[in-house]
């Protein structure tokens, strides 16, 4: 037992003290906060120069109504859209189009909107612009055109409306999740939380699983494993290794969670200074997130870490390990890909099967619990299956590990692997 502890300690300390660990532990939150801040800034910022537009209106009389929908202002008070000229049913459509295209090319215009004669019957309109990827702008112009068309159709039927915006204003749909114990408001934040949870589980299993594998391969390639094997039982060595790497992951998460909590609390405090009443925490964490995910995560980690360790024991070099880890990593990727099935139909037979299958349940059962908590017996059964499989896999892995760490050269075939299991 003392020897296992020594292995855990070494594995933990040598990893925690590396630059890579410090960088990823400190860097990842900084990076994610940075990305979040930048994307938030970009998403809320409007195009900062006036969009000069001309309208080629082959239907006629639509331009003023369209410009009604383009009355946005820039932050400096300038109008966001400026109508340069309207071509109302020009006799030579092609010439005008050519001229307008040239103006866009010469940057005299930012774009022109071409409305076909049959637009009321569903013929497509076109926006000619140098940058069709500016979604903010194209979406606004599209909306303005559609509103103008609706107004035209209404007026053609004798309905005259001055404030179309008022008529067209919609409302948002609030999701209320009905559960056994009551109901709770759910919105985008719960979806984000589910996706983050799945992502975190997936990334963690892969990253720390591979870390365990690399640690095994490193001891093999450096040949120190022979000295280790003469001092400690291989199963102890494997256990110590898996626990040590788990400790590294735990430390990392603890640091992240603490900073996360700090940032949230501090952020809320700062927020309430500007907007009193907004002091509520950004996320309210349902208790279910705190109970099941950690349990499934720990079991899943042991399952995958021992699988990765067994793979590491089969190979003799880092490059080879990259090849053999593919099948295991693909199973984890499959869990990510199958996640939407759970989300859409958490109680379908496929979902139930996926959340019972021990290699996918660590990720997908957690996901299913957060979407719609299944009956307790299903959670218990899934967990029991996963624990049983994990115990089995650890035993098989330990045997492969015990033989594999002393084998160099050719990678074993499946038949040879089965023979390894019988060695004493």
């Amino acid at each position: 037992m003392r020897k296992i502890w020594l292995v855990v300690k070494r594995e933990y300390l040598t990893r925690v003290r590396t630059k890579g660990f410090i960088l990823s532990t400190v860097g990842l939150p900084l990076l994610s906060v940075g990305i979040f801040a930048v994307s938030l800034a970009l998403a809320t910022s409007k195009t900062e120069s006036t969009f000069k537009i001309s309208i080629l209106d082959n239907l006629g009389g639509l331009a003023p109504q369209i410009m009604q929908g383009l009355k946005e202002k820039l932050r400096d008070g300038q109008p966001a859209y400026q109508l340069v000229r309207t071509w109302d049913r020009p006799p030579s459509e092609a010439t005008v189009r050519e001229a307008l295209n040239n103006q866009v090319r010469n940057e005299e215009l930012d774009g022109f909107l071409e409305v076909p004669r049959g637009v009321l019957n569903g013929e497509d309109a076109a926006l000619h612009t140098r940058n069709p990827n500016d979604f903010q702008t194209t979406r606004t112009i599209g909306l303005a055109l559609n509103n103008a068309l609706i107004a035209r159709r209404l007026s053609d039927r004798g309905v005259h409306i001055d404030n179309l915006d008022e008529i067209m204003r919609g409302v948002d749909l609030t999701m209320v999740k009905v559960t056994k114990t009551g109901e709770s408001k759910e919105g985008l934040e719960s979806l984000i939380m589910q996706i983050s949870l799945v992502m975190i589980l997936y990334i963690t299993l892969v990253v720390y699983g591979m870390m365990t594998m690399r640690s095994v391969v490193e001891e093999k390639t450096s040949h120190i494993v022979e000295v280790l094997a003469s001092s400690i039982k291989p199963s102890y060595l494997l256990t110590g290794k898996i626990l040590g790497v788990a400790g590294v992951g735990f430390t990392q998460y603890l640091i992240w969670m603490c900073t996360g909590a700090l940032v949230t609390t501090y952020g809320a405090a700062v927020g309430s200074a500007f907007r009193p009443g907004a002091a509520a925490p950004l996320f309210h964490l349902p208790i279910i997130y705190l109970v099941y995910p950690p349990i499934f995560f720990v079991v899943g980690y042991f399952l995958y870490a021992s699988l990765y360790a067994a793979l590491g024991a089969m190979v003799s070099s880092e490059e080879e390990s990259q090849q053999v880890q593919m099948p295991v990593t693909l199973v984890l990727v499959a869990c990510m890909v199958l996640y939407p099935i759970i989300q859409r139909a958490p109680n379908s037979p496929l979902s139930v099967a996926l959340t019972m299958f021990p290699f996918s349940s660590p990720i997908l059962m957690v996901c299913r619990i957060t979407v719609q908590t299944p009956p307790f017996w299903q959670i218990a059964l899934s967990l029991a299956l996963c624990v049983a499989t994990t115990i089995g896999i650890i035993q098989v892995s330990a045997k492969i590990y015990r033989v594999g760490i002393l084998m160099y050269g050719k990678r074993p075939s499946l038949v040879e692997l089965l023979r390894w299991l019988r060695y004493t």
Binding site: T14, V227, S230, K233
Partner: protein
């Protein structure tokens, strides 16, 4: 009580029999040479003694106890394939390995310091293993084998890669440890080292013991059937097929193995007749080198 007693041990890997009905007896306080050609089963035998592998048949006793987890701490091991954690500090690796052999942290630290001092590595204790030269890494690995003062020390090719100064340093430590009661198993292909250091040997081939026992007794049993000659001049005087069975050339010297019953005087006469100047003419026991080759090729024939 014997330091190591291996009784009728067999180890198979699938269809390959790596070790077959092997018995070894190593007396305490001796240096024991485990010899054999490549792939003879030496490493497998050593691994079974260290309980890295478990025999399929037979039994192994270490200082009277059956080989197992508890006996692992009684043995220190320098494997042929050297290796330490490349990115760890020298001192930390050694303290860790000492801990795995059952030493307490404080004790381990103190001994690591002493040994680094003794092997002239003190200045490198806080350096990464990677930063050490091959020879220094090898000395560090030697420390890992002896740090817990094991009653049994298994050294696989301990001198390869060491310069004469360091080789002498290691050899002196080995002899010092034996003096203090340690038993040393030396596995090597360098026969002159075996002749100089070992009290007893076991030669294995194809997993079987083909020659075992006290080294002096073995050599004596072959009798003084070899002539060691140092000379200058033409070597055609050795062309005596009726009395010389085999000749080993070493540049300035030769070793000629005599046919049974042949008279060494015949060679001397031939040399004098041809006017060759002899600086040495000695009747000796066959070198271990020749015994090794003879025993191993016998099995192949």
């Amino acid at each position: 009580m014997e330091a190591i007693a291996v009784e009728h041990v067999t180890k198979r890997f699938d269809t390959v029999v790596a070790v077959s009905d092997l018995s070894l007896h190593v007396e305490q306080g001796t240096v024991f040479g485990l010899l054999g050609p490549n792939g003879a089963g030496k490493t497998t035998s050593l691994r079974m003694i260290m309980h890295i592998l478990v025999p399929d048949e037979g039994a192994i006793q270490i200082l009277g106890q059956p080989a197992g987890e508890q006996t692992q701490d009684l043995i220190g091991y320098l494997p042929e394939e050297r290796g330490l954690y490349a990115r760890m500090k020298v001192r930390e690796v050694l303290v860790f390995l000492a801990g795995l052999k059952g030493l307490r942290q404080a004790d381990a630290s103190a001994r690591v310091r002493e040994w680094l001092e003794r092997l002239d590595l003190a200045a490198w204790s806080e350096k990464k293993v990677n930063d050490l030269s091959k020879g220094m890494q090898q000395k560090a690995q030697f420390i890992a084998a002896v740090i817990h003062q094991p009653p049994i020390l298994i050294l696989d090719e301990p001198f390869t890669g060491l310069d004469p100064v360091n080789a002498t340093l290691i050899k002196d430590i080995m002899l010092d440890l034996r003096e203090k009661g340690s038993t040393i198993i030396l596995s090597t292909h360098r026969m002159e080292q075996v002749e100089m250091m070992c009290d007893a040997i076991c030669l294995i081939n194809h997993g079987r013991s083909v020659l075992a026992g006290d080294l002096r007794a073995i050599k004596k049993s072959y009798g003084k059937n070899t002539v060691r000659i140092e000379y200058s001049g033409d070597d055609s005087f050795l062309d005596l097929p009726e009395s010389v069975e085999k000749i080993n050339h070493f540049g300035a010297a030769v070793e000629a193995k005599l046919r049974p019953g042949a008279d060494p005087q015949e060679i001397l006469k031939a040399a004098v007749a041809r006017g060759v100047r002899l600086s040495r003419f000695e009747l000796v026991e066959p070198p271990l080198h020749d015994i090794f080759i003879e025993k191993v090729s016998e099995a192949h024939a």
